[in-house]
Amino acid sequence: MIELVIFAGVAVALLLLMLWAARERAGSQRSPLAAPDLPLEEMFPLHCRHFPQVRQALSGPDDAYLRQRASRKIARRARAERCLVARQFLVGIEEDFSRLNRLGRTLAALSPRVNRKQETERVWLWLRFWISCRLVSLSLRTGRVSVPRLAHLAQLVGHLAAEIETAMGGLETAAGKPLGTSLSA
């Protein structure tokens, strides 16, 4: 009977997984391999471009100023709002990570040869990042993550975007044609 229960569970789980995996993606019409007009820029990090504004909103001096000058109630409300900004920014960073990951996957899909190690590592990184993001989000809610650390993370994504864009520019020059066209072909 135990075997029956196990296999019944496995069969139902496989059926659900099959339905989930085979469903048409909402954005499939905009898939890089399906749509010829997908702008390459959509694969680059976007949220990190707002980093200077967010850094200002989360800056330490602002916090100190509030503590000195504002009433306790206003300071508490400001801290709650800063926390909300931080959480929203974390969501943005997650989206940026997804975009970069997507760029990597698209490059692999359109490449004549792929490196098994690189591909495995990217899957592993994505899994780790996804779990870490959930944990950081939880920590932000409980106030256990300092905002400056989040700002450092944002800075890193910003550098990342700039470097990849520079590298793409260099490759475009070398290839003699815009990669946006090639990627979306």
């Binding site: 075997e3 996957r105 490196n115 990042f129």
Partner: protein, 259 residues
């Protein structure tokens, strides 16, 4: 033991659907794109007619029915395995880099599950019915696992699966998943469950047929042109940079979690 009238109704409905699917496959030229799958549809029709001719004349429990059923099941299962391999190839092969990686993943998955099927059925070799049911369950498990892996790889790399391919995969996967469940019940309750087992098997195949008919109801769209691949150096230059940055992001995120 001869079939009851309701079995004949189920058989007529199933045969009509099978004939319709085979006819549409020829009419819409599916045999040019997926020849093995088209051949499988015809094999199903031939099996159905042969099976009912034998059952009608000798009954379910006769030796000819027993041998015909299990030999034809082995043939159909092999044809289905080949059709699944053909489907994997038709979806992933145009993407050379991904295909080179994916066929190895699919082969490892299939080998692992087929070894399990062999090991599990060997443990039940004392009784032929139990042996066959266990082997069949293992093989169905391998089939559905391969199809899920195929869909996950396509999804991960953003490879577009045509509606035709998707519905064929869904039909094959649905039938295999239901058979895992069905054979598990049959192993547990054996003779008491036979009528139900037969009914579930036939009905689930009809559901799969309806999915395939949905895929074949309209003329097939023109074959998508092969994707234009990028020069290899683009992958070689950019991928390590992307991976490096993703790694750095992960490390920084983990740092944030440290007390």
């Amino acid at each position: 033991m001869h079939p009851v009238p309701s079995s004949y109704i189920l058989w007529v409905a199933g045969t009509v659907l099978e004939l319709l699917a085979a006819t549409l496959a020829i009419r819409h030229g599916l045999f040019r794109r997926l020849p093995v799958f088209t051949g499988y549809l015809f094999l199903v029709v031939a099996h159905e007619i042969g099976w009912w001719a034998i059952v009608h004349s000798s009954g379910y429990a006769s030796p000819p029915a027993f041998y015909f059923y299990w030999v034809s099941q082995a043939l159909l299962l092999s044809a289905r395995a080949l059709a699944i391999a053909e489907l994997c190839q038709s979806i992933l092969r145009p993407y050379r880099g991904v295909w080179a990686l994916a066929w190895r993943i699919l082969l490892v998955t299939a080998s692992g599950l087929l070894s399990y099927a062999a090991w599990a059925s060997f443990g039940n070799r004392a009784w032929i019915t139990l042996f066959i049911l266990t082997a069949q369950r293992g093989l169905e498990l391998a089939a559905v696992a391969i199809l899920i892996t195929l869909m996950l790889i396509s999804r991960y790399y953003g490879i577009q699966v045509q509606p035709l391919q998707r519905l064929i995969a869904l039909g094959l996967g649905f039938y295999s998943a239901v058979q895992i469940l069905n054979n598990s019940f049959m192993r547990e309750f054996l003779g008491h469950y036979f009528d139900w087992w037969n009914w579930v098997r036939a009905s689930s195949f009809q559901v799969a047929l309806v999915l395939w008919l949905l895929a074949l109801r309209k003329p097939l769209p023109a074959t998508a042109p092969a994707p234009a691949l990028l020069p290899q150096e683009i992958y070689d230059d950019l991928t390590p940079q992307v991976s490096y940055r993703l790694r750095a992001l992960n490390d920084r995120l983990l740092e944030m979690l440290k007390p």
